[in-house]
């Protein structure tokens, strides 16, 4: 018995069938670069896992040592600056690509039946990605990150009925304290990655179940075959994008390594608190609408966003026309405007 036969007799996996499954046809529009955004977040997530594990070797989630451990990673550990920089840039890019992917799916109506559940999983993945960004940024324990976390957990506090309990759960107490950082750490390296894996698996399972939404373009030749093979054709495209991304992230990681600003100081409120760029719009909205109104409207908007396929159906029934694109444009422009506004402000 050869070694291969021994393995096969105990683990009956047919290589041919795997390749056959990988060779499933995907629609022709995936040949266009712009339509390959969905794979990029997954790709970046893998980079995040690898760099994150390396960072976790050295990071200490304890208020008195967190900042120092990040300083040590940045200044003492060989290549630590690079790994931290990759982690940061890849995180930002992941948020960008997830948002772009979501927009693509939204504006092409790819969320419609029978893909409603997949939209919900995707929408939850976007929210999880943002929470990932928030908890990761807070772990650095810089002054601005600390106060960003303070503002964010105060937001949770104002949610009606359950807000206080949610805020207490997130903070590990009535105020940001020694347990908060540990909690953020556990969210960041344990709970959120698990959630991503679960929803990502469901997301991909759904894609395999329903297939990729087929899109058609005017310049297409109708006589041409409508599909091409996932493996090796599309895999090679993704590989090209992947390696290109690695080069790009490495380049920005070297050119703009993340700095370490002032250490968190619970006794000194900074003159200007600012979150990371992807929360600018919520922060500006907070300033405009006031705490309670902002929390209510943002909660409502998030719920509509997650359950958009059903909202879309209801709106179409009421208004007798498809409002997805105009509403989407209004939402994107609104978020964009609020983000720019906050970015320009002190």
């Amino acid at each position: 018995m050869t070694a291969m036969e021994w393995v096969k007799s105990r683990f009956p996996v047919d290589q041919q069938s795997i390749i056959l499954r990988l060779q499933e046809p995907v629609p022709n529009h995936l040949k266009r670069w712009w339509w390959c955004l969905g794979g990029m977040p997954a790709y970046l997530f893998i980079i995040q896992v690898i760099t994150g594990v390396i960072l976790a070797f050295y990071y200490v989630p304890e208020p008195s040592r967190a900042y120092e451990s990040v300083a040590r990673i940045s200044h003492e550990i060989p290549l630590g600056w690079w790994v931290r920089s990759l982690h940061k840039w890849s995180a930002n890019l992941m948020i960008v690509t997830v948002i772009l992917h979501t927009m693509r799916v939204f504006f092409t109506g790819a969320f419609r039946a029978p893909r409603e559940l997949n939209w919900i999983f995707g929408a939850l993945l976007l929210i999880i990605t943002l929470v990932f960004g928030f908890t990761g940024y807070s772990l650095v324990y810089e002054q601005l990150a600390y106060w960003g976390a303070t503002v964010a957990t105060n937001l949770a506090d104002t949610v009606p009925l359950v807000g206080t309990y949610i805020a207490r759960f997130i903070r590990g107490g009535s105020e940001i304290g020694p347990d908060t950082l540990t909690r953020f750490f556990v969210f960041h390296i344990g709970i959120l990655p698990t959630l991503v894996l679960v929803f990502l698996s469901l997301h991909i399972l759904m894609v395999r179940t329903h297939g990729v939404t087929e899109l058609h373009f005017e310049d297409e030749d109708p006589k041409e075959k409508q599909t091409f093979r996932f493996y090796p054709d599309h895999i090679l495209t993704e590989l090209m994008i992947g390696v290109g991304l690695l080069i790009a992230i490495s380049a920005v990681a070297v050119i703009w390594p993340p700095e370490l600003s002032e250490k968190a100081n619970p006794l000194v409120t900074p003159a200007h608190i600012k979150p990371e760029w992807y929360f600018y719009f919520t922060f500006r909205w907070l300033k405009i609408a006031g705490l309670n109104a902002a929390v209510l409207t943002l909660g409502l908007a998030s719920a509509i966003f997650v359950f958009w396929p059903f909202a879309d159906k209801a709106l179409t029934r009421v208004f007798k026309r498809d409002l997805t694109v105009p509403l989407g444009i209004v939402a994107v422009l609104g978020i964009f405007a609020l983000t720019i506004w906050e970015a320009m402000a002190h």
């Binding site: 290549l79 590989l239 390696v243 070297v254």
Partner: protein
């Protein structure tokens, strides 16, 4: 795009990624390792020294390896190298070296610090030849006491063993033999054979040269303690010293940081170094600990330091990290008042009496051969310093019980009676003593007001239910002169006399002179 084209692009991109990784490695090479604890560096010249001395003197080798010098590659030979013609130079394993490392040697790298230190009061501690302390040590006590005592703090005058022709003696290896009464010595004002003064190792103990050790109060305590200048005990009694113990135990002092700036690196407590040597946000560290001192508290009568206003500003800057301006000003008022009280009430009058006794030849020119000279010495050199130093560093017990109380006792109970005895039948000296006692601060001995006596009596009555506080305590020596007729009578002996305890000050009977 064909599959092959894609494969080629992936290959090319992978190669590009490899180039990226090489760039990353190059940038990594440029990174500065901040805070990285490097391994000891042994340069070529130092390797043989270290290898051999790891066997011969393992402690010294290990201490060096633990210290900062090892980390930056400064080894044995870098400090112990000698130049041809140096008095203590000798050939050792192929190198010309010297046993002693003086501030001149340290100054090869630490030029400014060495120069600043050699101009400081610390470095002048060896110049005590004409002082009474030196007479005490060298003559009254004996040379061995001076060598093992005084000079281990003040510093010796480094000397070599000489043969009959006056040449420096050498051992069989050619090593010049140092005079053992002058070496070993780490006294801070050592007079070195190369013309330099002092020694850096007085504070920066070899061979580890720990910066933390130099900042710890224990380090200063090698010399600044004991009956005549108990600065370390005074510090320990003060709130500063108390705060330090806890802050140190809680790891808040950060004394091993390269930059140790009060108000920045640490806030919880000061050590001796904080106030007298180390940096603040507004001034750099100084190797002249006299740079922030306003009074000299050592002589019979305290004097203001030269440029004391500038020096006070430098100290107030240190205080300001933890104290408000009115707090600091209030402390200086209390301190200055205490020094002035000591000066005017006790030191100057005592000096006047001693000068009168000497002028009248009632005391010989030889120091310490008359009893009253010892009394006087205790008064200013021990008790007077304790009172002044206690006030300077906020130690209440040293200011009062170890200080002014003993000054007063020495003055009234010993110096004045002894002077009176010597001045018997010498009207000029007697007149001086009488004039001193006529001074306002001493008038209480002649006459304490009824109101004051009543205040004392009622205090004891109220506090302890006993009204006899104004009585002399048991065992008080009898008055040496009969009380003047006009002295008011003591309290009614209707109640039992309170026995003095630590908590019951027993004012002297107002009729003892």
């Amino acid at each position: 795009m064909s599959l092959n084209a894609k494969r080629i692009i992936v290959g090319l991109l992978s190669f590009l990624f490899l180039v990226t990784l090489i760039i990353v490695a190059w940038v990594e090479g440029l990174q500065e390792r901040v805070g990285f604890d490097p391994l000891p560096v042994l340069s070529g010249d130092n390797r043989p020294c270290f290898t051999c001395h790891q066997e011969k003197t393992p402690g010294i080798a290990a201490q060096w390896a633990d210290g900062m010098h090892a980390k930056v590659g400064v080894g044995c030979y870098d400090c112990h190298l000698a130049e041809k013609g140096d008095l203590d130079a000798w050939h050792h394993e192929g190198k010309l070296i010297s046993t002693l490392v003086t501030p001149k040697d340290c100054g090869r790298c630490h030029k400014d610090i060495s120069a600043e230190f050699q101009k400081s009061h610390h470095a002048k501690a060896g110049q005590i030849l004409g002082s009474l302390d030196n007479v005490l040590g060298e003559i009254v006590e004996g040379p061995a006491a001076a060598h093992a005592g005084c000079q281990q703090c003040h510093g010796s005058k480094i000397a070599f063993q000489k043969d009959d022709r006056g040449e420096i003696k050498k051992d069989k290896n050619g090593k010049p033999l140092l005079e053992p009464t002058t070496w070993p010595n780490t006294g801070i004002g050592r007079l070195n054979h190369d013309g330099s003064i002092g020694t850096c190792s007085a504070c920066h103990s070899r061979h580890r040269f720990s910066i933390e050790m130099a900042r710890r109060p224990d380090n200063c305590g090698k010399c600044h303690l004991g009956p005549d200048h108990p600065q370390k005990e005074i510090y320990e009694e003060s709130k500063h010293g108390i705060a330090f113990v806890t802050a140190d135990q809680q790891g808040l002092m950060k004394m091993s940081e390269a930059e140790w700036v009060v108000g920045e690196t640490y806030n919880s407590a000061p050590t001796c170094a904080t106030c007298h040597v180390s940096a603040t946000k507004n001034q750099p560290a100084s190797h002249n600990p006299g740079a922030r001192i306003t009074w000299t508290l050592r002589p019979v009568v305290s004097k203001r330091q030269e440029n004391w206003e500038d020096k006070k500003r430098a100290m107030v800057d240190v205080c300001g990290n933890c104290h408000a301006p009115d707090w600091i000003a209030g402390h200086y008022t209390q301190y200055d008042n205490a020094v002035n009280l000591y000066n005017d009430k006790f030191a100057k009058p005592a000096k006047r009496i001693m000068d009168a006794l000497k002028k009248a030849k009632l005391v010989t020119a030889t120091p310490f051969d008359d009893k009253i000279e010892w009394t006087y010495f205790y008064l200013w050199h021990h008790e007077g310093r304790r009172a002044r130093m206690g006030a300077s560093m906020m130690a209440p017990d040293y200011t009062q019980w170890h200080g002014f109380f003993e000054v007063a006792e020495r003055f009234y109970q010993e110096l004045i009676p002894e002077a009176r005895e010597l001045a018997h039948n010498h009207p000029q000296v007697e007149a001086v003593i009488a004039q001193v006692l006529e001074m306002e601060p001493h008038r209480w001995k002649k006459e304490m007001s009824q109101a004051e006596l009543e205040r004392v009596r009622s205090f004891y009555k109220q506090r302890y239910g006993q009204g006899e506080g104004a009585h002399p305590p048991a065992g008080t020596p009898p008055a040496q002169t009969p009380p003047p007729a006009e002295t008011p009578p003591a309290a009614e002996p209707a109640e039992p006399t309170p026995q003095p305890t630590d908590h019951q000050p027993a004012p002297a009977k107002p009729s003892e002179v």
